[in-house]
């Protein structure tokens, strides 16, 4: 209360100093001032503060301020005079609308043409000077093996940038550019050679098979100095062709292994069919997927394949002579990172973009299935065979001890190994890395083809229990059947003869 009173008095004192108090309040305060020394001190301090403020130095007069100001106003008025009309939003909007209507009336194709021109400019910019991939990376047999077997091709080894071929469960094909992709492949060419126990000559033969595809791959991947990568989707054909060639070779040099890895559906004719894929480029052989730093689009690039191959040969020749220059070229960096969706909304293309991945689905009208009806089944056969081959590197002993239960196929085109199999894994700590990959294999050979088996002790025990349960169930059913038959017999005996 006292505090509030003091505050109020002080406020009155401040107003008194400013001569802002009504007469009666002024008289009242003056009386208090006479009687209170504290109030007088307070008043003196306030007075001093007021004096300090009122004595603050003024700025020296600016004589030309008005002249400068008037000049500025004049200048502003001039500019406003010209544009003031346009400053009204309605007027500006009206003018723009009339202008656009005029353009659309006299040049109806103005905007489509304009947009198309811009699009063409971008496409021209990024597709200029596209060169075969060999200009930036000399593919070796291991790269090509990985391309065939592991579906990836290094675009830039230093930056771990990869081109990957993918297929989803629905069979859709994809081409993917991955930045910082996986560096090492679990199953590579040395592992392949080792598992098949290939001799040096055989290894050289494998190398020559792989390298024979180098030019074809190079001509299906084009690059330029603007960090553009153009990929022809028919590169999928070469992927399959290399696989078929490798399988043919495996079949020819190692019959035993070939018998173990080939699925029963794999007939000799398949290899020939697969070879045909190589020649068949499809109707859209000139269509390339172009991955550029700004966007991604499809573009028909009319290239003379023979000239391109000649160029590749020429370059390779020069390359061996100018190693230093080659190193320079090898510094080429492909940096596909950001793609606005300008070109991705096309009905044909489906693009998936992540920070490190750009994946394009090959449209149905370009995909191989459309003009090679058996492509899909052949492809899955290759997948199965390669899965077997991948698993073959582990020492899995395959035998058929229960011969009497084995369904033997006498058809000559089928292989004799199409029997019931059992896996006996010699090493105790050993486990099959991916048993599911073998499920397809077993599903095919087992009489009860819908079951997927996992090969471990627990499963075997479960199977035994299951068998016993089934046996019991069978007996119960037999029992029930007999009882029912008895019942039926009784009923039929009791029935009165039908009177006619």
């Amino acid at each position: 209360m006292m505090k509030w009173y003091n505050q109020n008095i002080k406020e009155q004192l401040s107003a008194y100093l400013d001569d802002e108090l009504p007469k009666h309040e002024k008289d009242l305060l003056e009386d208090k001032l006479i009687s209170s020394a504290e109030l007088r001190t307070e008043f003196e301090e306030d007075k001093k503060v007021k004096e300090l403020l009122s004595s603050l130095k003024r700025l020296p007069e600016d004589e030309y301020f008005a002249t400068r100001l008037m000049e500025k106003i004049k200048g502003e008025k001039k500019t406003e005079g010209i544009f003031s009309f346009f400053k009204k939003p309605v007027v500006a909007f009206g003018i723009v609308t009339i202008f656009l209507m005029g353009i659309l009336k006299f040049y109806p194709n103005f905007f489509p043409t304009f947009l198309s021109k811009q699009k063409t400019n971008i496409i021209d910019f990024y597709t200029q000077n596209l060169k075969p991939f060999v200009y930036v990376a000399d593919l070796n047999s291991e790269d090509i093996f990985n391309f065939a077997f592991n579906n990836n091709l290094p675009l830039n080894k230093e930056d771990r940038q990869m081109l990957q071929l993918l297929r989803d469960s629905s069979g859709n094909q994809f081409v993917e550019v991955t930045y910082a992709g996986s560096a090492a492949n679990a199953y590579n060419l040395p592992a392949f050679v080792k598992s098949l126990k290939l001799t040096n000559d055989q290894k050289q033969a494998v190398d020559s098979i792989l390298l024979s595809y180098s030019d074809d791959i190079s001509s299906h991947i084009l690059v330029n100095e603007k960090n553009t990568v153009a990929v022809n989707p028919s590169i999928w054909n070469y992927h399959n062709a290399i696989r078929s060639d490798l399988l043919s070779y495996v079949a020819s040099v190692n019959k035993e292994v070939s018998d173990k890895i080939m699925p029963a559906a794999f007939v000799e004719n398949n290899i020939a069919s697969l070879h045909r894929i190589q020649q068949q480029n499809g109707p859209d052989e000139d269509t390339y997927f172009v991955f550029s730093p700004d966007t991604i689009f499809t573009q028909k690039l009319h290239l003379n394949k023979d000239e391109l191959k000649d160029e590749i040969h020429k370059f390779k020749k020069e390359m061996s002579q100018h190693t230093a220059e080659l190193n320079k070229i090898k510094r080429f960096k492909i940096d596909v990172k950001v793609f606005p969706d300008e070109f991705t909304s096309s009905q044909k293309m489906k693009v998936m973009i992540d920070s490190n991945i750009c994946r394009v689905q090959i449209p149905q009208d370009i995909a191989m299935e459309n003009y090679l009806p058996d492509f899909d089944s052949l492809n899955s056969i290759l997948d199965i065979a390669f899965d077997q081959l991948r698993n073959f590197q582990f020492d899995i002993r395959v035998e058929s001890p229960e011969k009497e239960e084995t369904a033997v196929y006498n058809d000559k085109k089928r292989r004799k190994t199409t029997k019931k199999f059992e896996f006996n894994i010699g090493n105790e700590g050993f486990s099959i890395p991916n048993p599911d990959s073998l499920a397809t294999f077993f599903r095919f050979y087992f009489q009860d083809s819908t079951k997927t088996f996992k090969f471990n002790d627990k499963m075997n025990e479960d199977m035994e229990v299951f068998k016993k349960e089934m046996e019991r169930f069978k007996n119960d059913m037999e029992k029930m059947k007999k009882e029912l038959q008895k019942e039926l017999k009784k009923n039929s005996e009791k029935k009165d003869p039908i009177e006619i």
Binding site: E45, K48, V49, K50, L52, L56, L59, L69
Partner: protein, 199 residues
């Protein structure tokens, strides 16, 4: 008749021109833009000084003063003659200062070291010079919150009445009375280290 004529005083015909703010504004509204310069010359120093004390520095005085008068020039035809021209002019000035300080504050958030955070760095023993005292007081005023600073400047520096300040700021006289009192109390606290020399 002639005599009558002789007795008649000849009154010279003169045009009476009123030179107060309202008359000048009326002439401006009627299309005589040349009077604006007279208005500017009449009030420019007050505007410049308010900006100087409010911003505590000479940096932006010219630009802000020009901005104030350009605003006045653009809006003068809408002046309603309900309050004094100076009240209206000071309101525009204070608003311009507020806008500027707001911009400075935003900038100071981005760059932590700004002039507004400067401490009063004079030692009391060195306060011999009058200009130093002036500087201390100006900085002290600059440290006051804007709500307290403006009424105090308008009162003690410009000598406006509480009523005029209330109209300029757009608030009640009672509020102005309270704010000026609080401003003085706050300023006394700020200047406490220099009490001996100043108060």
């Amino acid at each position: 008749m002639n005599e009558t004529n002789k007795n008649e005083k000849v009154i010279p015909q003169t045009i009476l021109t009123l030179n107060d703010d309202f008359s000048l504004i009326k002439r401006f509204i009627d299309g005589d833009e040349s009077v604006f310069k007279t208005l500017v010359n009449r009030h420019k120093e007050k505007v410049r000084n308010i900006i100087f004390v409010t911003l505590n520095g000479p940096d932006m005085i010219d630009d802000l003063s020009q901005e104030v008068f350009i605003s006045v020039f653009k809006k003068l035809d809408r002046f309603r003659f309900e309050s004094q021209f100076t009240t209206w002019l000071y309101r525009i000035t204070i608003n311009k200062c507020r806008d500027h300080l707001r911009r400075v504050k935003i900038r100071s958030i981005l760059s932590p070291l700004s002039a507004s955070e400067e401490e009063l760095s004079y030692s009391s023993s060195s306060l011999h010079d009058a200009s130093e005292i002036q500087e201390i007081v100006r900085r002290g005023v600059a440290q006051l919150p804007e709500k307290l600073r403006t009424p105090l400047i308008l009162k003690d520096f410009e000598g406006l009445s509480y009523q005029e300040i209330a109209e300029t700021i757009g608030t009640e006289v009672g509020t102005i009375k309270s704010r000026i009192f609080r401003a003085r109390e706050a300023l006394k606290k700020i200047l406490e280290p220099y009490k001996k020399e100043l108060l």
